[in-house]
C-alpha cells in the first residue's frame, strides 16, 4: 500500500457527496455497524506496509490512532473532520517527504465489540475512506484505561516500513486519547483481535521499547476529552513516553500539532520557523501548537562529512 497521489479533486468530491446526501462523515458507524469494516479489521493481517515506490521514493510513514470510546465525547467526530487536512499540510510545507498516512482507532478490548481498527498506509484520498469507515464505540469502562497496549503491539509487530529498513528513519505514531493503557498485552485479547498466538503477556513498557525501534511514539491528550485534565493519566504516559506526551488545548489544532511534530522529528524545521510557517499559512493555532510542542526542541542531527560506510555483508540475523 502507500501508492497513489493525493488528488484534491477526489477529496472535494467525497466531501461534497457526503454534504449533498446528508450522511455523516462516519457513515459506516452511523449506519449501525457493530464490527470493524473489513478494510480496518486487524485480525489475520500480516503487515501494514509503507513501501517506497517510483512515485514516492522517500516514504515517511505516519500513523494516527485515536480513542473512540465514550469518554472522548465529541472528540472523535471533530478529529474525523480535521485529520483529512494532515496530508495536505505536510505536503505543502515540505515537513516530510512522501508522507504515507495510516488512520486507526482504539477501543477497550475488555468490553468493546470493536477494540482495534487499523487502516492502511495511504498517500491519497483512500486515507479519508479509512477515516469514514471507523466505527465509533461510545463504550469503554469507567476505569480510565483503554487497550492502547494492544494497538501498540499491532504497530510494533504488524508493520513493515521501508523508511526504517532502507534509511534508518523511524516512522511517527500519534495516539490521541485521554486514558491509560493496560499494564500488559494480554495473549487472550491478541488472539481474539489480531489472531497471533502469544505464549505469555508482554509488559506495556516492553512493547513500547519494541515499538520505538520503528516509530517515534507520541501521545496527544485533548483538553476537551473526558479525562483530558487528569493528572494520574498524564503521569502514567509521561513515565512511558517522557516528553513525547503533548497536551492539546484546542482540538482544531490537531493537524498543525502533528505536522509540526513530524517536521521537528525530520529536522525539516525548528520550532520557531514552524510556528512562523503557521502564521504565514493563516492558521490561528500557533499559540496552542507552540505550547504543546515546546518540550520537543531537540539536538540537531549531525550532517556533513561522508561517513565511511563499509560494504561487507550483514553478519546478523533478525529474529
Amino acid at each position: 500500500m502507500g501508492s497513489g497521489r493525493w488528488s484534491t479533486d477526489v477529496y472535494s468530491a467525497a466531501a461534497s457527496y457526503r454534504a449533498a446526501s446528508g450522511t455523516s462523515a462516519f457513515a459506516y458507524s452511523d449506519g449501525g455497524a457493530r464490527e470493524a469494516h473489513p478494510a480496518l479489521d486487524p485480525h489475520g493481517v500480516g503487515k501494514r506496509e509503507s513501501r517506497d515506490s517510483d512515485e514516492h521514493p522517500l516514504s515517511t510513514p505516519i500513523a494516527v490512532l485515536f480513542d473512540v470510546t465514550g469518554s472522548m465525547g465529541g472528540v472523535p467526530r471533530t478529529l474525523q473532520t480535521k485529520l483529512p487536512q494532515l496530508l495536505g499540510l505536510l505536503t505543502r510545507k515540505g515537513y516530510a517527504t512522501d508522507p504515507h498516512i495510516l488512520f486507526g482507532a482504539v477501543g477497550d478490548a475488555t468490553c468493546d465489540r470493536v477494540p482495534l481498527q487499523i487502516g492502511q498506509f495511504e498517500s491519497d484520498n483512500r486515507m479519508d475512506e479509512d477515516l469514514a469507515r471507523i466505527v465509533l464505540e461510545g463504550g469503554g469502562g469507567g476505569q480510565k484505561t483503554e487497550s492502547y497496549e494492544l494497538a501498540m503491539y499491532f504497530m510494533a509487530r504488524h508493520t513493515a516500513l521501508d523508511s526504517v529498513v532502507k534509511r534508518g528513519r523511524r516512522g511517527y505514531l500519534f495516539l490521541i486519547g485521554d486514558e491509560m493503557p493496560y499494564p500488559r498485552v494480554s495473549p487472550r485479547e491478541v488472539k481474539k483481535v489480531i489472531g497471533d498466538d502469544l505464549g505469555e503477556p508482554i509488559g506495556t513498557e516492553q512493547i513500547i521499547a519494541e515499538l520505538r525501534r520503528s516509530f517515534d511514539v507520541y501521545y496527544l491528550i485533548p483538553a476537551a476529552a473526558g479525562w483530558g485534565g487528569d493528572a494520574e493519566i498524564r503521569k502514567r504516559w509521561r513515565a512511558l513516553l517522557g516528553q513525547n506526551v503533548l497536551e492539546l488545548d484546542d482540538l482544531d489544532a490537531v493537524c498543525e500539532t502533528i505536522a509540526l511534530t513530524v517536521g521537528l522529528g525530520e529536522d525539516a524545521i525548528d520550532l520557531d520557523a514552524g510556528l512562523a510557517d503557521l502564521v504565514e499559512a493563516g492558521s490561528a493555532h500557533h499559540g496552542t501548537v507552540g505550547k504543546a510542542l515546546a518540550p520537543l526542541q531537540r539536538g540537531a542531527v549531525v550532517r556533513g562529512g561522508a561517513l565511511p560506510v563499509g560494504d561487507a555483508a550483514s553478519g546478523n540475523e533478525r529474529l
Binding site: V302, A306, P308, S314, G315, N316, L319
Partner: protein, 312 residues
C-alpha cells in the same frame, strides 16, 4: 572576496574547506585566503580577529579530504578502518577513540541498544569493574546526503586487546581459567547493572594477553526482546533466544560456558566438563542465575591460583 571583513564572514560560515575554494585548486585558494587574513597582513586593531580566523582557515585546510564529524560534544576526524564487525565498521578517530558506523541504517536499533547498555553500565554499574567494557564517548544520529540516517557511536579504543576469535589453536585449560574467571566477573557486573550482553561469542570477548585483561564488546544485542542474533554463531545460542526472543543473565552464562568449552576443546578436564554441563541446560531456570556466585564455584574447582604467562 576582496576585503578582510568579507573574508572573515565567509571563513566563519564555512564548514569545510571546499566551501572556500570557489572552484580553484586547494593550495591556490588557501594562499589567497592567507594573504587576506594572516595576522601579519592586517593592522593591530584586527589582529585578534585575524588570529582566530587564520586558525580556523588552517584547520579547515588541514582537514580537507578527510571526513570530519562535528557534533555538539566534539569534532571527530575519521581515520583508518580498524575492524569490521557483524553490522558495523570501526574507524580510528583522534583521541584514541573509535567511531562505529552501521553499514545498514536498518541496524540503528542495535546501535542504540549498545549505546544504552554502555551508558547503563556507566551509570548503574560498580565503577571498579569499568575496564570490562569500553567507555561510550558519544552516540549521535548522522544524516548523509542520501537522507539515510545512521546511529553512530564513538567508543574508547581498547589498545593491545585481541578478540578470542583470533586464537588459532585450542587453549590449555589453565590458560582458559583466567579468561573464564574474568568473563564471569564482567558478566556479573553487567547483570548487577541490569544489562544482559546477549551475544557472548568469540568475536565479542577481547583479551589482553600480557595483562590477563578481558573486555566484553559489541553490546548491540543486549535488551529484550532480542532483535537479532550473530548469524555465524547461531549454534551458540540457547533455545530461549531463538524460540522466544528472550535473554536473561542465564542466557549469558549459557553462552559464556559454551564459549569456554569451544576454546579448550577436548583438553577440558572431566571436573570442568561437568561444571560446564551444569551451566548449559535448555531451561533457563535450571541454569545458574548469578555469575559471581558461579565464579565462587569455579574458583573452588580450580584450586589455588598461579600466574601463567600467556602469549598468542
Amino acid at each position: 572576496m576582496s576585503t578582510f571583513a568579507e573574508a572573515v564572514v565567509l571563513i566563519e560560515r564555512a564548514g569545510t574547506f571546499t566551501e572556500l575554494t570557489g572552484g580553484r585548486v586547494a593550495e591556490e585558494a588557501y594562499r589567497s585566503w592567507v594573504k587576506l587574513v594572516h595576522p601579519d597582513a592586517v593592522g593591530t586593531a584586527e589582529r585578534a580577529t585575524a588570529t582566530a580566523i587564520f586558525a580556523k582557515l588552517s584547520r579547515l585546510y588541514a582537514e580537507r579530504g578527510a571526513t570530519v564529524l562535528r557534533t555538539s560534544h566534539g569534532t571527530y576526524r575519521v581515520g583508518d578502518l580498524v575492524a569490521t564487525g557483524d553490522i558495523a565498521d570501526l574507524s580510528a578517530v583522534d583521541g584514541g577513540w573509535l567511531v562505529k558506523v552501521p553499514r545498514s541504517p536498518a541496524d540503528n536499533d542495535l546501535m542504540a541498544a549498545e549505546a544504552e547498555a554502555l551508558q547503563r553500565l556507566r551509570d548503574k554499574g560498580d565503577p571498579k569493574f569499568r575496564p570490562y567494557a569500553p567507555k561510550l564517548i558519544e552516540s549521535f544520529v548522522h544524516e548523509g546526503g542520501d537522507r539515510k540516517r545512521r546511529r553512530v557511536t564513538v567508543l574508547e579504543r581498547l589498545d593491545g586487546f585481541v578478540p578470542l576469535s583470533r586464537l588459532d589453536r585450542e587453549l590449555d585449560w589453565r590458560d582458559a581459567a583466567w579468561m573464564w574467571r574474568r568473563l564471569l566477573t564482567g558478566l556479573g557486573w553487567a547483570h548487577r547493572a541490569g544489562v544482559v550482553h546477549g551475544a557472548v561469542v568469540e568475536e565479542h570477548v577481547l583479551i589482553h594477553p600480557g595483562e590477563h585483561g578481558l573486555a566484553l564488546v559489541d553490546w548491540c544485542y543486549s535488551g529484550s526482546p532480542v532483535a537479532a542474533v550473530v548469524k555465524r554463531r547461531r549454534d551458540a545460542y540457547p533455545p530461549e533466544v531463538l524460540k522466544h526472543k528472550t535473554a536473561t543473565p542465564a542466557t549469558d552464562i549459557y553462552m559464556a560456558t559454551g564459549l569456554m568449552t569451544r576454546l579448550v576443546g577436548d583438553g577440558l578436564p572431566a571436573a570442568l566438563r561437568r561444571f560446564a554441563d551444569g551451566c548449559r541446560y535448555d531451561a533457563p531456570r535450571m541454569r545458574p542465575q548469578d555469575a559471581w556466585r558461579l565464579l565462587g564455584e569455579l574458583d573452588e574447582l580450580l584450586g589455588p591460583r598461579k600466574f601463567r604467562p600467556f602469549t598468542l
